[in-house]
Symmetry: C2
Subunit: 329 residues, 2 copies
């Protein structure tokens, strides 16, 4: 067995960790999708969504996971489509998806929307199914948007589960998408693990209990934004997210990420306020070297006044505006 | 801070780990449900389903998880209902549920079942929604079963996320259900973590990366089947599951569990064959002390011959038969 590094550069990562089996097929579908979108002069956004897993076993039973239902990504994808972008929706298997997210099996099960209508007396026709009248308008709205996106072919869905799937897929999709240059946006809303277990260190079978406590030691995931910005995406408009539970470190950490990776915007959010308040953190372009080097703009919504409003609508509109401005620079 | 044990007995666990906030409300709903079922002379099965999480932080971002979509539990619950049992379906939030499981957002999205029918020319009526004809029969079947269970009030759904939610809820529900004595079955299909992180050892905020590798040390979850069989459920028919990836240890581990906990049946399954093959492992009642003390019966289905067949149908029928036999003993 070759010696493994203890900290992985992105390069070392891809040299030692095997690609997921579906990567070639995914690249082919991205290529076909992009060809079509370019013919229609579409801007394209890559939306990543949901958490990544870190399997502890090769025959995986246990894994480390990051909390994420995929609401941010699935909701934002809908608003990007509405704003005229084509969307590559790269999401964690079983996380929320655009359109169907409105009908979660737990909170708004679609079977509750449906009614069985028995045929009139004497008829031998089978019963028919209809939509409960109070739910019809909302469903019709969602269904129309869904069908029109399907018809226009403006959304491509890709799936990942593990951190390894995610990293390989992100690199491959970014490299393909880079042909669009500045017309491509990268909206990295997935909750990506900071740690991983190299395949070479995994246990083959399910780790047995009954042998005392469990010790896990994981390596750091390479800081993938660096090669992504510097090499893979070239001129793209790259938006990353920073989620913290400790307010005091939120903005400084967002600024540090911008400094280190040189991308376009960090959207900073605190775990418990992320549904109604986020900060756009970006570099200022002030010629005065004594002026602050970073600025932030807050996007806030008032859920008491307008409980149906989604903060992703304002986030996406603000990004679309900034992307446009930046294209015109 | 009081000193924590390094290995937890079930008793020590419940003395040191706080109950979930919804426990009282859940107990009330179980009590009401059981009252109703007893009035109708129903047998009741508790079905647990899906994986449990082990949060690493109090403001939880990262957690350890067990692989489980909840297929076994959700499917079995449907067959128990069909067999005339009332079902307490205690499942991991967002795992599969009876009936809606047929329409997973990923593999069979319900929006694809629906069509928009425009009104006739000249009409000002809004468009209506109908079910695609090729999908109507299957949906009608599922919908009928779902509505009839709702109408009969024979299923109660409870939700857990963490291992701590699960353990508290399992104890409370078992204690309530024990009033049914031998008429109660416990079908423990959830994939429960063997390890946990005591609340007192959790980090308050998100664990920061950038400080080298991640070390996690977890304690063993107490063997809950012991007090469950001996104290909480009294005479109930208790069925546990054993999932392994290593064939060689599957049956011995199932036998060891029966030996240790003294319950009714262990259903043993290997990870990659669990969709078509399981073993019922049980104690023999042979008076001859030299005879084997355990026996196993295999339940197998042939998915090539009958791809629509679900192994849970045979598992549940076999259990219903054994439960009946045992009630008559």
């Amino acid at each position: 067995m070759e010696t493994l590094p203890t900290t992985f550069s992105a390069e070392a990562y891809f040299q030692t960790q095997p690609p997921p089996p579906t990567i070639e097929q995914d690249v082919q579908s991205v290529r076909g999708f992009l060809k079509q979108q370019r013919e229609h002069g579409k801007k394209v956004v890559l939306v990543t969504s949901g958490g990544t897993t870190v399997p502890l076993e090769l025959n995986v039973v246990r894994f480390l996971d990051n909390f994420s239902a995929g609401t941010r990504g699935a909701t934002s994808a809908e608003y990007f489509l509405k704003a005229g972008y084509a969307v590559i929706f790269m999401h964690r298997q079983f996380s929320l998806q655009p359109f169907s997210r409105h009908y979660s099996h737990s909170t708004n099960p679609f079977l509750d929307l449906l009614e069985i209508d028995d045929p009139p007396d004497g008829s031998t026709a089978p019963p028919s199914i209809s939509v409960t009248s109070s739910k019809r308008d909302h469903l019709l709205g969602v269904l129309k948007s869904y069908k029109s996106v399907q018809k226009a072919g403006t959304m491509l869905t890709l799936t990942f589960v593990t951190i390894n799937d995610y990293l390989w897929l992100l690199r491959a999709v970014s490299q393909e998408l880079s042909v669009l240059g500045k017309d491509a946006m990268y909206y990295l809303a997935a909750a990506v693990s900071d740690f991983f277990l190299p395949r070479q260190k995994m246990s083959v079978h399910k780790i047995q209990s009954g042998k005392g406590s469990l010790h896990i030691e994981m390596d750091q995931v390479p800081k993938i934004l660096k090669p992504m910005v510097a090499e893979w995406t070239r001129q793209g408009f790259v938006v990353s997210f920073k989620l913290e539970t400790d307010d005091g470190i939120l903005i400084p950490k967002a600024q540090a990420a911008l400094e280190r990776y040189g991308h376009s915007v960090v959207i900073a959010n605190e775990l418990h306020r992320r549904k109604f308040e986020v900060a756009f953190v970006y570099r200022t372009h002030d010629a005065d070297p004594s002026a602050p080097r970073f600025a932030e703009t807050w996007v806030r919504i008032d859920l008491e006044k307008d409980p149906e409003k989604e903060v992703e609508e304002d986030i996406v509109n603000e990004l679309v505006r900034r992307h446009k401005q930046w294209l015109e620079m």
